[in-house]
Amino acid sequence: MPNPSRAQLWGWGRTNPTVAEEVTVTAGGVAAALKEAGPRGALARGLGRSYGDAAQNGGGLVLRLAAGAGDVVLDAATGRATVGAGVSVDQLLRVIVPRGFFVPVTPGTRFVTIGGAIASDIHGKNHHVDGSIANYIDSITMMLADGSTTLVGPRDNPALFWATTGGMGLTGIMLDATIRLLPIETSRMRVDTSRVPDLDTLLATMSSGDDDVRYSVAWIDLVAKGRHLGRSVLSRGDHARLGDLDARQAVDPFAYGPHQIVAVPPIVPSVGVLNHASIAAFNEVWYRKAPKLRTGEIQGIGTFFHPLDFVGSWNRLYGKRGMLQYQFVVPFGQEHAMRTVVERLSASGAPSFLAVLKRFGEANPGPLSFPRAGWTLALDLPGASRGLGDLLHGLDRVVLDAGGRHYFAKDSHMTPDAVRRSYPRLDEWKAIRDEVDPHRVWQSDLGRRLGLI
């Protein structure tokens, strides 16, 4: 087994790093590595795309699962793939798209591992009709704290399965998962884009039309004020059918080779280049350049799902103080809470770069799974924004009073009390965890901070 080395580990927001012993292992080496775990325990880490401290384990052991050749086994006849937990969505798509399949759920970046995706129970633009990724998992092979390996799924040991999906890596380490894929006819997307002048129109439009489309999301300008409050660009689409492609595209209907266009260099002025002026200007341009209405546009998978992946290491643009992401959901019927949050963000002057609003469908049985029926808003804020602490504490209260909750994978700011209040099945999750990990082998900075361990 390779020796662990001391490393400072950050979340994608680059805000509160800690130092841990990090080691990359193959699935066969996990049990041996686990024996090295001390009182601070162990945690699996994927590509470090959770924004806060979810994939950090200060003073403890951090395991990275190597992704090797043969880690994606596609059964085209049944539309299922068994995928190593350390494999990224990017690697998976490069295998399955040319063979006519797509992942059932993708987040806004393809640089997440399958293990991380399941641990966060990720959602995508299709949650309102398809739900989150756990809904498409047949089984997970996982190693428990005692070093034993077990298979869990919605039928085999469902309690541990649902505690693991959304369980933020604190029930065991996933080795592989078998996922039901989505058959596609082409690798292109058929997209409708429209400008929406304000928040009320946006909520009404999404309420009435979302259920007929697989993918739907609104990019909302949180810098706009007054009668422009909540102006947005609504983007909806589905996988293009063969008949949607022109002759040139139809030559290779499954063409797929996304690439990075530019990368942010490691040296950025320490104050960052994303500030109120640059973000406000960007949001203005984004809104203006969007068509009033354009239908049936053919786009690539990367453009539609993963636009930020075209810029490598874009998180560095926020400078030394980093950024944080704030994502919450409030139930349907609590639109006034959403409106209050949007108003306060707009009034605060804290500049948010491209916030994303969408509708969630029904929750799944996972006790710590984030999505539930309602409206979700996700936004980035520069860590150096003045008065950010007070602003977010205020927003927390609005969200919790509306019966809403925050997303662990993006969390920067929750408190143990807020978690108890907004995840009422926390004790049920802890009871399942206690059975498989009575000695708290699985630990993380997020778990310690929020009282999960």
Partner: protein, 253 residues
């Protein structure tokens, strides 16, 4: 574990009755903070200070801490971690000023100050640093002083201990960086407080609140040193280089 805004959940103040220390704690408190521990020798006075900080969602505990009883320091640091979890911020704020005219001629009085201000700081800081190394994160706020930047004839023992503490903290801070532990050295000028009651304020005098304000800003920005007021950095870069005979004759009290 501090959150993404750098707001701490657990704060320990060594020198739990220090005015500057308490001002920093008050400034650090926010809805995220769950525990503040005041470690001090005079626990009765500590309890009075704790009463002023407590509210519904904040536990404020007072624990006995004797800077000179260095053999007890490691146990105390371990107990704090066991009881309260990760220590996010430790503030090292205790010191004795002494009366310059006495300490510069009375070895017993001088040793008392040296033991508290230097030996006690070195011992307790290392025990806390060791706990933070195990956590892989944490911040230590070291209350130094401009008095240690160039030691005055008026109070050589106090100034000498601060010079030692400042150098110690610089070196330890560098040693801790690889372990994820952040050291902030605070160098205030003359602070108008109980400690300096009866003394004539020096130029650029400041207050505990101003020191706290600058400290918390520097802590969030992960700076290594902060002078209060900031001008003193430039004043002392001149004073440090004055020829000895000139420095000796300056009317600095």
């Amino acid at each position: 574990m501090e959150n993404a805004l750098g707001q701490p959940q657990t704060i320990v103040l060594f020198g739990g009755t220090s005015e500057i220390g308490l001002a920093i704690v008050r400034k650090l408190l926010n809805p995220t903070t769950r525990t503040a521990v005041l470690a001090c020798r005079d626990t009765e006075k500590g309890e009075r200070a704790a009463a002023g900080l407590r509210h519904d969602s904040l536990t404020v505990d007072v624990v006995e801490f004797d800077a000179k009883a260095t053999e007890t320091h490691a146990d105390l640091a371990r107990t704090l971690s066991e009881k309260y979890g990760d220590i996010d911020v430790a503030i090292m704020a205790f010191a004795l000023l002494g009366v310059g005219e006495v300490t510069s001629v009375d070895p017993a009085a001088a040793v008392e100050i040296a033991q508290v201000n230097f030996t006690g700081i070195v011992s307790s800081t290392i025990t806390i640093a060791n706990q933070m190394r195990l956590q892989g994160h944490g911040s230590i706020v070291m209350l130094s002083s401009v008095a240690g930047e160039r030691v005055r004839r008026a109070n050589p023992v106090y100034g000498g201990t601060k010079a030692g503490v400042d150098g110690f903290a610089q070196g330890l801070g560098d040693a801790l960086a690889a372990d994820g532990v952040h050291m902030l050295i605070v160098r205030p000028g003359f602070v108008i407080s109980q400690m300096t009651t009866g003394l004539k304020p020096a130029p650029f005098a400041t207050t505990p609140e101003k020191v706290a304000d600058a400290t918390v800003k520097a802590l969030t920005a992960k700076r290594r040193t902060v002078w209060v007021p900031g001008t003193l950095r430039y004043v002392f870069s001149v004073l440090r280089h004055l020829p000895g005979p000139v420095w000796r004759r300056l009317p600095l009290g």
